[in-house]
């Protein structure tokens, strides 16, 4: 059997600009002719990626932010050309890098179905044939002739996905579509995708949702810094990815000068047990402290917020010092946040850091700024604590 897609030695180079606006202007180009100061740097988003896709494959593409996943999908969808290498394709490709591409708020739902469908490459006859099914799937019968601007965002999303769900192309390329919408909608999307893959079509799928990838994909590709570091079946790829992430586990992180911004300088984040002899491990049966050493340069209303994710990259919850009575003052701050003992299950966690100004504007976001492992501090006799289900194990007050 011939592969439906042959990806051969694909590389993609971007030029990144230092201290310059991303838009070129004529003046800058002319000035640049006389001024040979090097302000650009080459950045390889993809390097020598090679793999074959066979008809009926469902391939999950995994990797950290910036590993080159979206660039790979953009090259496969012909949106941007590779710098070198080539791809041979043998089938109609439809790419869904975004739901609702080409939607216009002034047009009615009906008109948008036709517009969006034709941009995605559907023939008018195909759209007509599936029109009732699309409207039904989206559940917008009553509003089909209302301008899109009067739709709720959930309805817009459902309509957009409904159009895409009826694409009949041999290869579907899907980028993080499931990151939007509520839980129910995500389930619906996943269900539809499972139907599609069962019908024998080929899917390439990027997602941070590892459990969805695991259930949906037969193969997995791990991208790391633009290179394909692992190709194999999806379960192996996911565990490879998780292992490679765990290399970065650190319970103290010092930040260099690139974390000195206009409003603040981030010095360090430290995670430790509050009373512990061994500073290198974190156990679950002692309170855990998250210490943030940050310097605020300007008088103002700042707070920090952490999002905590588990090893499947699922967001568990967020916590912050806003309205906690502890504020960030101008100058050095040593914030300590205490997580009660046995609150978190043993396992791997990572934190996203948000620094927020005036309660609403995030001025700094870094995903997975620090990762750590919590191990079981004590083998409990009788009930094995680690086998308790669920994400957290809070100790509640009981009374009788």
């Amino acid at each position: 059997m011939k592969p439906i897609l042959e990806i051969k030695h694909i590389s993609k180079k971007f030029k990144i600009f230092h201290e310059q606006q991303p838009y070129l202007s004529l003046r800058d180009s002319i000035v640049g002719l006389f001024n040979n100061k090097k302000t650009r740097e080459d950045f390889w988003a993809l390097r020598d990626v090679t793999f074959d896709v066979f008809p009926g494959d469902t391939i999950g593409i995994i990797g950290k932010n910036g590993a080159g996943k979206s660039t790979l999908l953009k090259i496969l969808s012909k949106i941007t050309p590779p710098t070198s290498g080539k791809i041979i394709g043998r089938g109609r490709i439809a790419s869904l890098l975004e739901v609702g591409t080409g939607f216009h708020s002034e047009l009615s739902g009906r008109e948008n179905i036709f517009m969006n469908g034709s941009i995605l490459g559907m023939r008018r006859s195909e759209i007509l044939k599936n029109f009732d099914a699309i409207v039904d799937f989206a559940g917008v019968e009553k509003f089909i002739d209302t301008p899109l601007k009067h739709y709720s965002s959930g309805m817009q999303l459902r309509l957009a996905f409904a159009v895409a769900a009826f694409l009949e192309n041999e290869v579907l390329i899907i980028d993080e579509v499931l990151a939007v919408g509520d839980l129910e909608f995500q389930k619906k999307c996943l269900g539809k995708m499972e139907d599609v893959s069962k019908s024998g079509r080929t899917i390439l799928f990027v997602s941070h949702n590892l459990s969805a990838l695991k259930s949906l994909c037969s193969k997995g590709i791990c991208l790391k810094d633009g290179k394909s570091s692992f190709i194999g079946n999806s379960t192996e790829a996911i565990s490879y990815y998780l292992d490679s992430r765990k290399e970065h586990i650190s319970i103290v992180k010092q930040f260099d000068s690139s974390y000195q911004k206009e409003d603040f300088s981030l010095h360090s984040i430290k995670i430790c047990n509050s009373v512990s002899d061994n500073a290198n491990i974190i156990v679950d049966n002692l309170p855990i402290e998250i210490k943030t050493n940050i310097e605020i340069h300007n008088q103002g209303n700042y707070h920090i917020s952490y999002h905590i994710k588990n090893d499947l990259n699922e967001l568990l919850f967020a916590f912050y010092n806003y309205n906690s009575g502890v504020t960030l003052k101008k100058g050095h701050n040593n914030l300590t946040c205490m997580v009660p003992s046995t609150f978190l299950q043993p396992g791997y966690y990572s934190l996203n850091l948000y620094i927020v100004k005036d309660a609403v504007y995030p001025i700094f976001i870094e995903e997975e700024i620090i990762s750590f492992n919590i191990i079981e501090g004590q083998v409990v006799t009788g009930i094995n604590a680690s086998s308790l289900p669920g994400y957290i194990r809070p100790k509640f007050e009981w009374s009788n």
Binding site: F14, Y23, L24, S25, L26, R27, S29, K74, I75, L76, S77, K78, I79, T80, P81, P82, T83, S84, G85, K86, I87, I88, G89, R90, G91, R92, S95, L97, E98, T101, G102, H104, E106, L107, E111, F114, M115, S118, I119, L120, G121, R123, R124, P147
Partner: protein, 273 residues
């Protein structure tokens, strides 16, 4: 169906691909027309109003003076309106096409289709507007007791085609270059304004006695279509062959330059937009 994705594509117009995606022309034009006249009270009448108002203004302001100084064989309102009708294809087509890639950057970054569809359909909108506005031309002709000559359909269709080609050449060029240099978004309206006065829209080609100026006027791409359009009216069927050929050559040159530059740079639109 086998295809290849390689670092650089071939330099051709890509007719086959455009044909495969022909329905998109219709949908883009249709979308922009719908959006253009949604929530407007007068709707498509706007397409008629603009040339009418301009013609009225110029007739009242300069009509007599220009007619006196030159040998226009048709009443000035017919003369000016015929100019403005075609000019509106050019000016609005060029404005829309020039901004079209930047305005549609969100689509360009997310999905592939032949990029030429975007500037072409934004010019098609102006052609649709023209055909609506053309309806008012007939009562104006009748009012002054004039009518078309027997070759009029050929002249009119050819003049619209020439206008479209001229608009297309410049439009694709500006569409492509303003993706990279946003400066051209500001240059464009200014250029169109200057060109209006360098085009025989409100005064005839032989208005100025300055030789050099005359030749510059002849090189104006909009010169040939407007002259051709006016030749469709009876008693007015004389075209200055020399100026027509010059102007048409400029149109062909602009057309090739536009398409060449667009096709050469389109691969990187998604990275820059």
């Amino acid at each position: 169906m086998e295809f290849e994705i390689k670092p650089k594509g071939k330099l051709s117009i890509g007719f086959k691909e455009l044909w495969d995606y022909r329905e998109l022309f219709y949908f883009f034009t249709w979308r922009d027309l719908k959006v253009k006249y949604k929530q407007t009270f007068l709707g498509v009448f706007w397409a008629i109003l603009q040339p009418i108002i301009l013609t009225t203004l110029f007739t009242l302001g300069f009509g007599d003076a220009i007619s006196e100084k030159s040998n226009i064989k048709i009443p000035y309102p017919i003369f000016a309106l015929s100019g403005f009708l075609l000019w509106s294809i050019f000016s609005s087509g060029l404005t829309n096409a020039g901004n079209s890639m930047v305005n549609n950057s969100n689509i360009i970054k997310k999905i592939y289709f032949p990029r030429l569809i975007i500037p072409i359909s934004s010019i098609l909108i102006s052609v649709v507007d023209f055909s609506i506005a053309f309806i008012v031309f007939i009562p104006v002709l009748l009012y002054y007791d004039f009518w078309f000559n027997s070759l009029a359909p050929v002249y009119i269709i050819l003049s619209v085609l020439l206008t479209t080609f001229a608009t297309f050449g410049l439009g694709t060029f500006f569409a492509a270059i303003s993706v990279k240099y946003r400066d051209f978004r500001y240059i464009l309206p200014f250029l169109i304004q200057v060109l209006l006065f360098a085009t025989p829209v409100i005064y005839p080609l032989k208005f100025s006695s300055n030789e050099i100026l005359h030749y510059l006027f002849c090189l104006n791409p909009m010169n040939a279509p407007i002259e051709l359009f006016r030749a469709s009216i009876e008693k007015n069927n004389n075209i200055d062959i020399q100026s027509f050929i010059l102007s048409t050559s400029v149109i062909i040159l602009l057309f090739m330059l536009g398409i060449f530059y667009f096709r050469k740079t389109e691969h990187y639109f998604a990275d820059l937009a």
